[in-house]
Amino acid sequence: MIKKAIVIGIIILFIVGYVVYEQRIKQQDAVMIPSVLTPTSAPATASSPVNGRYKDGTYNGPVTDAFYGNIQVAVVISGGKITDVQFLQFPNDTAHSVEVSNQSLPQLKQEAITAQSAQVDIVSGATQTSQAFMQSLQSALQQAKS
């Protein structure tokens, strides 16, 4: 159940993360959290267990260090199920005043990375999920159970 919930959470993260990132690319300003993603309800606003193991409400995870900045997520439970995962904090260090130094980078080249969603056969990366995200989400879900 928890595993399933986490998997669903990650899928939601991809969508939310994509929106956040797209917004960031468009706006190119220092505010990383678009207002649409800011949570609107206080933590644990309701507590009537329905079918699932989680009680309805909005639960904030702790702030966790994602190495390049802090991540904090809120999980929204409705009808005993996760219906949304929101970012309360997202690393905002990726902004902008990029200093491309003039000093000796003889043949090296530089560019700002972009988010692509092209179809590929394989993905090379350090791993699949973000530990910081998982920590924050798991802790939020723990609150939803108790």
Binding site: D93, T94, V98, L108, G125, A126, Q128
Partner: protein, 248 residues
Amino acid sequence: MRQTQLIMGMPITVDLVHEKQSIFDEIFSFFRAVDRKFSPYKKGSEVSRINRNELLPNAYSKDMKTILSLAEQTKQQTNGYFDIWKNGVLDPSGLVKGWAVYRAAHILSKKRYEHFYINAGGDVQVSGCNEKGKQWTVGIQNPFLPGKIVKVLILLNKGVATSGTYIRGQHIYNPHNIDKHITDIVSITVVGPNIYEADRFATAAFAMGKNGIHFLERQKGLEGYMIDKKGIATYTSGFDSYVFTERN
């Protein structure tokens, strides 16, 4: 046909364009044997036995001797930035992964499999072409956004490996300064002639921090793409030749 199994604490995927079940079994049992021998987490592994001083060097297995000598060679080639000994404890995981994928690819090649890839937790060896007869495409994961990529590579008979801190925390350290965390860069992707070369030099280059990409520029046959914590990529002069464009 593609199969994935969890071995060595990571998903290992083997994709064979012309498949046979027995060959999948052989490859995955090879990885399991490597895990049994080299895992620092398994009490009965040879690595654990060495760390408990239960084995004299002349009793080491042939594979262990190979790994130890390859590690020593790599340490010299990387000015000491690659070291499988940390505070007197042996942990060859940084070398074993790339070596195991390389060996597995070799098993397939010897059996005349031409078209396949092996992906061990994001470290990849590609061979030949995909089902459509095109070269394999490999995305570089966006370190800030799970599920997104930053670049598409198109590769023929190459290895590609990425070292980074964004998932397992600080799993790579600078042997010259163990307590100093690597904080200025987020990931380095290396394309090499095979996964063994790509993996070991990705690990070493990452440990060098911002200097790693300069190190890669000086190595023949290796190209690198480094992403820093501000989302700026610095890449070697020949890297563009592997980047997928519409013209490919």
